[in-house]
Amino acid sequence: MEKKLLHVYPQRCTACRNCEIACSFAHPIDGKAGVARIKAFGDKEGRVGHNQIVVCMQCEDAACVSACPANALWRNPDTGAIYLLEERCIRCHSCVAACPFGNMRPQADEFPSKCDVCGGDPACVKFCPANALEYK
């Protein structure tokens, strides 16, 4: 199977933040919306086409993976994405400190959260009205 990537087209982003809401609801904690693993930044001056989307890049040589003492971060060979294995995680939040892009998000008393491309069917892509996100 050919590996797909989450493509980001910030020029098209309207910073409506639907992706964040979709992400929160796709990763609930005890039935409630969780922390969004994707972040849309609206341009401060409101210029069109200057919004930004920050989401995990599933780095080849990932800082989170090398920082994890428990080997809880694992690359899924099917999707190519890095997953957090919650049963192995010791919640030391080393990965949160290590990710230089701020894509490993802490949740109080919970496991850190990161983009897992929803197991190969990312919710953010489906809810983006501007096609700023594509999974291909």
């Binding site: 920082a67 003492p69 080997n71 809880a72 192995r88 919640r91 400190a97 290590a98 701020g102 008393d109």
Partner: protein, 251 residues
């Protein structure tokens, strides 16, 4: 590959694989307290007790801990026999006697029909069941700051001689991986206190929000080769920084 039977179901497994791992893969539920995937099993809590036998054992069977019992060809595993349930109930009765303060143990005990435990030996606030998850996590994965100290009824988890540890990095992995939330820690503002030591959380270099203790950053830096200062930016500032970097890239 070998074949064995779990609760009447024929399953395949690797030789030497632990029974608990096989059972979980096959969807058979076995309760555990001291099991954590990140560390080797220790068989400390005894909750995962199952009954095993073999066709050539002529009806004889024995109770073993599923978490560290290796699978063999033709083994017959039963996870919910009367003997198993009675044993688990007795274990819970002893655990609840030791740890009246733990809600998790009380809930598990109720599940096994122990609504009104009669025996109490521990202090009412006691929560630690000495399952060793915290000490195994710390010793095998972090810096080895805590262990079991003392013997017999005085046995407890603490730093050596219950003194302030200079090895602890304040990562809270012990407290967060504890199944009964028995390890107390406090985090107020830029201070985090655990095991009698207060760590100063380094404020984010951009917004001043607490990040992580300097000791943990140094430990991480040693393992990953990143500079210590790189750890002192909070997640929000790092994400904003990433967005700014993107902005500067010409499309």
């Amino acid at each position: 590959m070998i074949e064995l039977t779990i609760d009447g179901k024929r399953v395949q497994a690797r030789k030497g694989e632990h029974l608990l791992a096989i059972a979980r893969r096959e969807g058979v539920e076995i309760p555990t307290l001291c099991h954590h995937e990140a560390v080797e099993p220790s068989g400390a809590c005894r909750m995962c007790m199952v009954e095993v036998t073999r066709p050539d054992w002529e009806g004889w069977s024995k109770l073993v801990t599923a978490c560290n019992f290796p699978a063999e060809e033709d083994l017959i595993v039963r996870t919910r026999t009367d003997k198993v349930m009675q044993t688990r109930k007795e274990i819970l009765e002893l655990l609840i006697a030791r740890t009246p303060g733990s809600q998790l143990i009380a809930e598990m005990a109720r599940e096994y029909g122990l609504d009104h435990p009669t025996l109490t030996v521990g202090e009412l606030s006691e929560k630690c069941i000495l399952c060793d998850i915290c000490t195994r996590v710390c010793q095998n994965l972090v810096t080895g700051a805590i262990s079991r100290i003392n013997r017999g009824v005085e046995k407890e988890v603490n730093t050596p001689f219950a003194e302030v540890s200079d090895v602890c990095i304040g990562c809270l992995a012990c407290a967060k991986s504890c199944p009964t939330d028995a390890i107390e820690f406090k985090q107020v503002g830029l201070e985090r206190t655990i095991w009698g030591r207060t760590f100063d959380l380094v404020p984010c270099t951009q917004c001043g929000a607490p990040t992580l203790p300097k000791e943990q950053a140094e430990w991480l830096s040693e393992r990953t080769g990143m500079k210590v200062e790189e750890y002192f930016v909070c997640v929000k500032c790092k994400a904003a920084q990433t967005a700014r970097t993107y902005e500067n890239i010409a499309w």
